[in-house]
Every structure is written in C-alpha cells, then in structure tokens.
C-alpha cells in the first residue's frame, strides 16, 4: 500500500508548484462576470424558447411554434408538473431554506429536479427547463438574504402561502382517496 501511494503521490504531486490555495490568473472583473452570467442565462432561455416554440417568461406558445401547446389546469397534474410560475407565487422557490417542514422542502427539491421534463434541448436529462425558470427567481434568491430586514413582511406572506399550498395538497390526497374507495 505504501508503494502504491508513493508512486501516486510522486507522480501527481510533481505537477504541483506551490500551495494549493492560490489565485491563478489575477483579479477577476466582477462586473463583467455578472454581465456575462446574465447574458449566458438569457441566451439559454432564448435557445429553449426557439427549441420548444414557447415563451417561458410569459408562459405562452410562440406563433411559429412547431408544437401544438395545450393548456392543462394545474389541479389535473401532479405537483411536480405544475407551473413554476404558480409555485413561485406561492413562494415555493424563494424560501426553500425557511421551510420548517422537512417534507415540504423535500418536495421542493424534487420540484426543481423534475419541474419541466424535456423543456430544453436535451430530452434525457430532465432538468433543463429549470435553469431558465430560475433565471427569474435567481435574482430574488440572491437578494432575499441581503434585504431580509426590509422584506420581512414579504417573507411572512410567503410562509402563509406555503401553508395554504400544503393544505391544498392535503385536500388533494384526501379527495383522491375518496374516489378510490
């Protein structure tokens, strides 16, 4: 074992040239970086719009869409397929960390992982729809902790909304059980 390690270490350590903790290419242009970030996300969103003939910001099909889009009421589909817009209004995306119920935050996790199957270019990896959706909320996500004091009433409102949503979900389960009986 010692021999194994010595070879491994000697070869791989040989590439190192000093302390691991180091800045490689000097200072980073923060402003430019932020700008590039927003451009990149916008570009992704546009590509997705073109690919699917759907405006994800207004949640409306484009005129020249190759797909026939058909509206389905949120109540008819499982939670994870519901529009992120609605979920967002419910404060779902924003306040993941403030959720007290473990089960709720678990659900949020699965929401962001499966929210929009096949929304973007890739068919297999399901998540692609989400990054664009996040585009809108991300700023909020970034901002919330900073402005927490000023936004405390919004925070509160979101919390109650989650509770509302949770109850709504409970009712769903109850009613489906009834129909099953």
């Amino acid at each position: 074992m010692c021999r194994i390690m010595s070879f491994h270490k000697r070869v791989l350590r040989s590439v190192g040239k000093g302390p691991v903790r180091r800045n490689l290419f000097g200072p980073v242009d923060r402003k430019q970086l932020q700008q590039d970030y927003h451009t990149a996300l916008k570009q992704d969103l546009e590509e997705a719009s073109q690919r699917w003939g759907f405006n994800f910001l207004t949640e409306m099909p484009l005129d020249d869409s190759n797909f026939l889009w058909e509206g389905v009421s949120g109540e008819k589909v499982p939670l994870v397929y519901r529009s992120s817009r609605i979920r967002r209004n419910l404060g779902f995306f924003r306040e993941e960390s403030t959720l007290s119920e473990a089960s709720v935050s678990m659900e949020t996790g699965s929401v962001s992982a499966e929210a929009a199957p096949g929304m973007l270019q890739s068919g297999k990896e399901n998540v692609p729809g989400t990054p664009e959706k996040h585009t809108n909320n991300l700023q909020d996500l970034e901002r919330t902790p900073v402005k927490q004091d000023g936004n405390s009433n919004i925070l509160k409102r979101k919390q109650t909304n989650i509770t509302d949503f949770y109850q709504a979900k409970k009712r769903d389960v109850g009613s489906s059980r009834k129909s099953g009986q």
């Binding site: 194994i4 290419f25 991300l138």
Partner: protein, 300 residues
C-alpha cells in the same frame, strides 16, 4: 450508560458487482455512448482567443491539487476536466474566468460522484477567495445549461474494471495496477493532447502502461509487449496502432512529469540542506526522509 457511536468517518463504497463486469453488454454500451461526451472540437486551434493551452494546464493542475489535498474520489478530477473541456469547446472564455470555471466543474463533478461533495466555501478558499460562493453557484447554472445537463459523462475510470476483469493478472498485483492506471488517467487529464481521445483508449493505454511498468514475471506471456497490446485492443475495440501510440504518449508524459518532480525534489532538498546548515543542524539526518525510497516504481 454512555452512548457510543463507533461508526468511522470514512467513505463507504458499494462492493463491485461481478454481474456488471462479466456481462459484455455493459462494456459495449459504454463504448457506444462514450463519444457523446467528448468535447466538440479541439478548441484552442480556432475557437478560443484569450486562453492558451498552458492556461488549461495551470487550471487543471490546480484542480488536481485540490482533489489530492481533499482526498477526493479518483473519478472526480477527470470528470471535472471533461466538463471544463466541453464547456470551453462551446463558449469563448476569458482567462480571468478560467479558475472560476475550474472550481465550478470540480463542484459539479464532486456532487455527481461523491456522497460528501466539496463545499462551495472550500472551493472559493482554494481560489484564494478570488471568487465568491455566489459566483460559483451562478456559474454552476451556466455550465449546466451549456452542457445541456448531460453530466453523467463517461470517463476512462468507467473502463478500468472492465479491462482489468478481462486480463489474466495475478491477484496480488491487481490493486497496484489499478492504482497506477488511475494515476495515469489523472495525468492524462492535465494534458490537453489527450482531451479528444475516447475515454476507452485512455483507459486501455493507462492499464497497458501500468502493466508494462510493473514488469510482470516472464511466465505470463500474454502480458508482454505485442501480446498485451493486442489483448487490450480487442477488449475495447481499439486499433492496435492507436493504442500503442496512446500508451507511448502516456509513458512519455509520465517520464517528463517524473523528471520535473525529481528536479523539484532536488531543489527542495537543497533548500532544506541550506536551511539546516544555516541553523547548524547535521544535514545527514535532515535529508534522509526525503530520499526516494522506491526505485522500482519508476521502471518503464
């Protein structure tokens, strides 16, 4: 009564499933899909303007060091490099962004492969805080989008066990050969000339170099020279000549790395001696610990 938790704080890995390695379909599927995860083009030639190959070497070296320092799983580093290359093949990038991207790729690869992934804070620390956690998270999203969320890329590591399983290797040498092959794979990932090679070829070349380097007993004829190359080539449907040249390239890379390492070590030893001499300590006792202990390992 006291409650004691005797669980050790170690990574627990699943045992190898022999079904995966004895069934040829797994290997064939890997070979079929591996090309999908190659970078779209050798991006330094026509695409990238600001960044140069030596910068990729700088950032990949740093990424490897972070993985070594943090004792990450072997697959994390090559997978992160796969992300980096694929991203750089589709997005023109400024060199100021490169370390951030390297950190993002490590972050993603670690999350995909490990039960206890690297944290954003730690990665930022390794960049000497030249980037913030928020930037890391922001750009994580960008990289994911550009790679179309295709993160479960095939890497050379995926082939290692398949290849070892099919070679008539002595049991006692197996773990040593595996470890050496993994080292070669990491080494290849730091060098851009391997970036466009299919992972199976790098894996085969690495195993080949590992077996040759250890110079097995003469008894096992299948593991020598052309016999070994032909056997390996057959396992991964590679052309023998391609495989041989790949293996030679790997051995070349190892030689130059070891040379660098030796020079570095000598330099360090000299410095240590100088320091010791200036403090009036007997230099002989100081230098003993850093003397290379194992010459056999460098056999090629």
């Amino acid at each position: 009564m006291e409650l004691l938790c005797l669980e050790k704080d170690t990574v627990v890995r699943a045992q190898q499933d022999p079904n995966i390695f004895s069934d040829d379909r797994v290997l064939q599927s890997l070979l079929t899909i591996e090309d999908r995860f190659l970078p779209q083009c050798p991006y330094f030639k026509h695409f990238q303007q600001d960044i140069k190959p030596f910068m990729r070497r700088m950032v990949s070296t740093w990424m490897l060091e972070v993985c070594e320092e943090e004792s990450r799983e072997e697959e994390v580093f090559p997978l992160a490099i796969n992300y980096l290359d694929r991203y750089l093949a589709v997005v023109q990038t400024k060199k100021g962004c490169l370390q951030l991207l390297g950190a993002v790729c490590l972050f993603l690869a670690s999350k995909l492969k490990e039960s206890r992934p690297l944290t954003a804070e730690k990665l930022c620390l390794y960049t000497d805080n030249s980037i913030t956690s928020q930037e890391l998270l922001d750009w994580e999203l960008v990289v994911l989008g550009k790679l179309k969320w295709n993160m479960a890329a095939v890497t050379p590591h995926d082939f290692i066990e398949h290849i070892l399983y099919k070679l008539p290797l002595p049991k006692d040498k197996l773990s040593l050969i595996r470890k050496h092959a993994q080292t070669f794979i990491a080494l290849c990932a730091t060098d851009f000339s391997f970036a466009m090679y299919p992972p199976s070829m790098i894996a085969t070349g690495s195993v080949g170099a590992a077996v040759c380097g250890l110079q097995m007993d003469r008894a096992e004829r299948a593991l020598h020279g052309d016999n070994l190359s032909e056997l390996l080539a057959k396992i991964t449907n590679t052309e023998v000549d391609c495989l041989k040249s790949c293996q030679e390239q790997i051995e070349q890379l190892l030689r130059s790395s070891l040379r660098e390492s030796q020079e570095r070590q000598q330099r360090l030893q000299q410095e240590a001696l100088n320091r010791a001499a200036s403090k009036g300590v007997d230099p002989a006792t100081q230098s003993q610990s850093s003397t290379p202990t194992d010459v056999r390992d460098i056999n090629l």
